[in-house]
C-alpha cells in the first residue's frame, strides 16, 4: 500500500492533523468566548450532525430525528439527576439519582428509543423516511412541551450541577468541557470511521445502494437499518449530554422544528456525503449564526433567518454536497488527478470518498 492513494488524500490528512493540533491547543489560541461558545458548540453540534451524516452517507437514510434524540437524552439526564430541593429545580421528575448512573441510563435509554424508532421506520425509504423521522421530531418536541410531568414548556435547568465524579465540576470550567467535547468528537469520528469498514458497515452500504438485492442475498435489511439508526441515536445522545452540560438546561425549544432544521442545515452546508462535513458545517453555521444576528437585510427586511435560508438555498442549488462536495469537485477539476473525486451524484454519494488506508 502506498502512503497516500492520491495527493488529495495527502492534503486532506495534513489539513486534518493541523485542525486536530489547533483544536488541541484551542484554549491557548482563542479567546474565551471562542472556546466556550463557538468551538464547544461546534464540537457537540458536529457530533449530532455526524450522526445524521453517518445515517445518510452509509445508510441512505436522511433522519430529521437526530435533534430530537439529542433532546431525549438531555431530557432523560435532566429528569434523573436534578433534585427537588429549596431553590432547586421544580420542573420534571427531579429524581435526584446518582449522576454516573443517570449518565449511563440516559445514553442507553436513548439508544433503545432510537432502536424502536428505527425499527418502526426501517421499512420506509427515501423521502418517506425523512417525513417519518420529522414526525418523530415534532412529536418529541410536543411531548416534552405538553407533558409537564417530564418537563413542560419551561426548561429543566441546573442540570450541569450534577456531573459524575470522573468529570467533576464543569460550571465555571469552560476549558474542561471543551476538552471533553473534543475528546468525544474525536472518539465518535474514529469509531464511526471504523464501523463503516466492519462487515456490518459494508452490508449497510450495500443496503443503501440496493436494498432489494441485499434482501435477496439474505441480509436482514430492516434489522441493519434499525441497528444503524440505534447507533445514530447513540451518537446523538452523546451530543445531547454535552449540550446539557454546556447549557445547563433543556427546553422544548432545543428540539423544536427550528432546531431540527438547523442541524440539517449544518449537515448540508458541510456536506452530507462525508463525516468530516458534519463538523465543518457546524462550524460554518455557528459562526454565521453568531455574527449575522445584528445584520439587517436591506430592502427585503427580515432577520438572519432570511440570510440563513438564502445561504442554504444557494448551497442546495449550487452544491448539494456542501463544502466538502465543493472540495471534492475542486480536486476533480484539477485535471482529475485525485482518485475518487469528480462530481458526486446527489442521491448516493461515494462512501468515504477520498479516503483510503
Amino acid at each position: 500500500m502506498r502512503l497516500w492513494a492520491s495527493p488529495k488524500t495527502g492534503v486532506e490528512r495534513l489539513v486534518g492533523v493541523a485542525v486536530l493540533v489547533v483544536l488541541a491547543l484551542g484554549p491557548a489560541l482563542f479567546s474565551d468566548f471562542w472556546v466556550s461558545t463557538i468551538l464547544t458548540q461546534t464540537l457537540f453540534f458536529g457530533i449530532a450532525a455526524s450522526s445524521l451524516v453517518f445515517l445518510y452517507a452509509y445508510g441512505g437514510m436522511i433522519s430529521l430525528a437526530q435533534t430530537a434524540l439529542m433532546g431525549i437524552s438531555a431530557y432523560l439526564l435532566g429528569n434523573m439527576v436534578t433534585q427537588r430541593v429549596p431553590g432547586g429545580e421544580t420542573k420534571g421528575l427531579t429524581l435526584g439519582w446518582d449522576p454516573t448512573l443517570a449518565l449511563v441510563l440516559a445514553i442507553v435509554l436513548t439508544t433503545l428509543i432510537g432502536l424502536v424508532f428505527g425499527a418502526v421506520a426501517s421499512r420506509s425509504f427515501g423521502i418517506y423516511f425523512l417525513m417519518l423521522t420529522l414526525t418523530y421530531a415534532v412529536i418529541a418536541n410536543y411531548f416534552f412541551g405538553q407533558v409537564t410531568q417530564f418537563g413542560g414548556f419551561s426548561p429543566i435547568a441546573g442540570i450541569n450541577q450534577y456531573t459524575p465524579p470522573f468529570v467533576g465540576e464543569i460550571i465555571g470550567h469552560p476549558d474542561k468541557l471543551y476538552y471533553i467535547a473534543f475528546g468525544t468528537a474525536l472518539a465518535v469520528y474514529l469509531v464511526t470511521r471504523y464501523l463503516v469498514r466492519t462487515p456490518f458497515g459494508l452490508s449497510l452500504q450495500g443496503i443503501r445502494d440496493d436494498p432489494v438485492r441485499m434482501s435477496s442475498l439474505g441480509y436482514a435489511v430492516p434489522l441493519h437499518r434499525a441497528l444503524a439508526f440505534a447507533y445514530g441515536a447513540f451518537i446523538a445522545s452523546l451530543a445531547g449530554i454535552l449540550l446539557v452540560w454546556w447549557d445547563g438546561q433543556i427546553a422544548p425549544g432545543n428540539i423544536g422544528i427550528g432546531a431540527t432544521i438547523e442541524l440539517l442545515v449544518m449537515c448540508v452546508i458541510g456536506g452530507l456525503a462525508r463525516i468530516e462535513g458534519a463538523w465543518l458545517g457546524a462550524f460554518t453555521f455557528i459562526v454565521i449564526n453568531n455574527y449575522v444576528r445584528d445584520v439587517e437585510l436591506p430592502v427585503i427586511g427580515g432577520s438572519f433567518n432570511t440570510i440563513i435560508g438564502l445561504v442554504f438555498l444557494a448551497i442546495v442549488i449550487v452544491s448539494p454536497d456542501g463544502l466538502m462536495g465543493l472540495w471534492d469537485r475542486l480536486w476533480g477539476s484539477l485535471g482529475r488527478r485525485g482518485g475518487g473525486a469528480g462530481p458526486v451524484p446527489a442521491p448516493s454519494p461515494v462512501a468515504g470518498g477520498g479516503t483510503s488506508s
Partner: protein, 342 residues
C-alpha cells in the same frame, strides 16, 4: 513508520494556522476600559411578543435619556442606540440588543452573545417568563455579571432560583393580578369560578395570583383547565370548562397566540361573551391586537401590567384595569411556581 513523514509537512502548516487564529482571536477581543459600564438590553424580536421590540428597548433606555444625558441616535428607533450616557462618573455604553423569540434556548444563546462576546457587565431583560428562568440559571454561573429582569413575570427567577446577581424592579406575574379576585367577588358577586390557563410557568404564576386573591376572600375555584401552549383547536379544552350557569365566572390566563382563539372557541360553545362573566390577566389587554374579540369583552376586569402598549387606549377598548397593589400580596409571595395547581 511512513506516517511520520507527514509530520514534517505538517509543522509549518500548523504554525501557519495557529498564527492565523491568534490574530483572529486577538482582533475579536477589543480592549476593555476600566472606567465604563457595558450594558446590554434583551427582549423579543420574534415569536408571540415580537411586536414590543422597539417599545421595550425604548422603555429600558428612557432613564438614560432622562437622568444620564443619553442621546438617542434615532428618536424613532430606540434600537439604533444611544450615546453620551454618563452615570456615577462612569461612561455607560450600550453594547448590544438581544433578540429573543420567547423560548429559553434562544434566550440563553442571546445572553451568551451579549455577556461573553460583547462583554456586557449588566443585562436588562429578558421579556418573558421562561426566558427569565433560563437566564436566571445562567446568571448563577456568572456571579460577576449583573442581570436585571425586563418584563418577565414568572416567580422562579427571583424566588426559586434566586441568583444573588439578578434583580427585579417590578412585581411578578402573580402580583400583577392582585386585586382581581377581590374585585370580581365584591362587585360582580362571583363565588364559584373556573380558570383556564396556559400550561407553563407564566400561566401558573399568573393564575396563582388570581386564585390566591379570589380564594383568600372566600371564592372557590371549581375547575382548572390547562390547554397546552399554542393549541391549534381550543374547542376540546373549552368543553372541559363548566357550563355557564353552573359557575359565576371564568378567569382567562391564555396568552401568546391563544387569547383570541380560546375566547372564540368559548363563544362557539356557549354563545355571546358576557363581560360580567369573564376576567383575565394582562393578556386580555393584548386583545387590542385581536380585533374581533376585543369589543366582546368590553367592561371585563383584567389584571395589570404597568403600561402595556395595548392598555394606553383603555377608554376605547373599554376594559377596566385593576389597581396594581404592589407590596400587598402577602399571600402570593409565599407561593411556589406551581402552587396554582396544588
Amino acid at each position: 513508520m511512513r506516517r511520520l513523514r507527514s509530520w514534517k509537512l505538517l509543522l509549518p502548516l500548523a504554525a501557519l494556522v495557529a498564527v492565523g487564529s491568534v490574530s483572529v482571536s486577538g482582533s475579536l477581543a477589543a480592549p476593555s476600559q476600566a472606567n465604563e459600564v457595558r450594558v446590554a438590553i434583551m427582549t423579543d424580536c420574534k415569536g408571540a411578543f415580537a411586536f414590543g421590540y422597539e417599545l421595550d428597548i425604548g422603555g429600558a433606555q428612557a432613564a438614560f435619556a432622562q437622568y444620564a444625558g443619553g442621546k438617542p441616535k434615532d428618536r424613532k428607533k430606540p434600537s439604533a442606540g444611544m450615546t453620551g450616557i454618563r452615570a456615577g462618573g462612569k461612561d455607560v455604553n450600550i453594547v448590544g440588543y438581544g433578540c429573543g423569540d420567547d423560548t429559553a434556548p434562544t434566550a440563553i444563546k442571546e445572553t451568551r452573545r451579549l455577556m461573553e462576546q460583547l462583554r456586557a457587565d449588566v443585562m436588562v431583560g429578558p421579556l418573558s417568563g421562561d426566558e427569565a428562568v433560563a437566564v436566571a440559571n445562567y446568571a448563577k454561573t456568572k456571579p460577576l455579571k449583573t442581570f436585571i429582569i425586563g418584563t418577565a413575570g414568572s416567580q422562579d427567577p427571583t424566588m426559586q432560583i434566586a441568583p444573588r446577581n439578578m434583580f427585579r424592579y417590578h412585581g411578578d406575574g402573580a402580583q400583577w393580578n392582585a386585586g382581581l379576585g377581590e374585585i370580581v367577588y365584591k362587585r360582580l358577586g362571583w363565588r364559584r369560578a373556573a380558570i383556564i390557563m396556559d400550561d407553563y410557568s407564566f400561566g401558573w404564576t399568573s393564575s396563582a395570583g388570581i386564585i390566591a386573591d379570589f380564594c383568600a376572600i372566600g371564592g372557590r375555584i371549581v375547575k382548572r383547565v390547562f390547554p397546552p401552549l399554542n393549541t391549534t383547536d381550543y374547542a376540546p379544552y373549552i368543553r372541559q370548562l363548566p357550563r355557564p350557569g353552573t359557575v359565576d365566572g371564568y378567569f382567562w390566563v391564555v396568552g401568546g397566540t391563544g387569547t383570541g382563539a380560546s375566547l372564540k372557541a368559548f363563544e362557539q360553545a356557549y354563545g355571546k361573551l358576557d363581560p360580567k362573566q369573564h376576567a383575565g390577566n394582562l393578556f386580555f389587554a393584548f386583545l387590542g391586537a385581536d380585533k374581533e374579540v376585543a369589543p366582546k369583552v368590553v367592561g371585563a376586569y383584567l389584571g395589570g401590567f404597568g403600561t402595556a402598549p395595548g392598555l394606553k387606549r383603555s377608554s376605547s377598548v373599554g376594559t377596566r384595569i385593576c389597581p396594581l397593589r404592589t407590596g400587598s400580596s402577602t399571600t402570593t409571595t409565599t407561593l411556589p411556581g406551581r402552587s396554582s395547581k396544588a
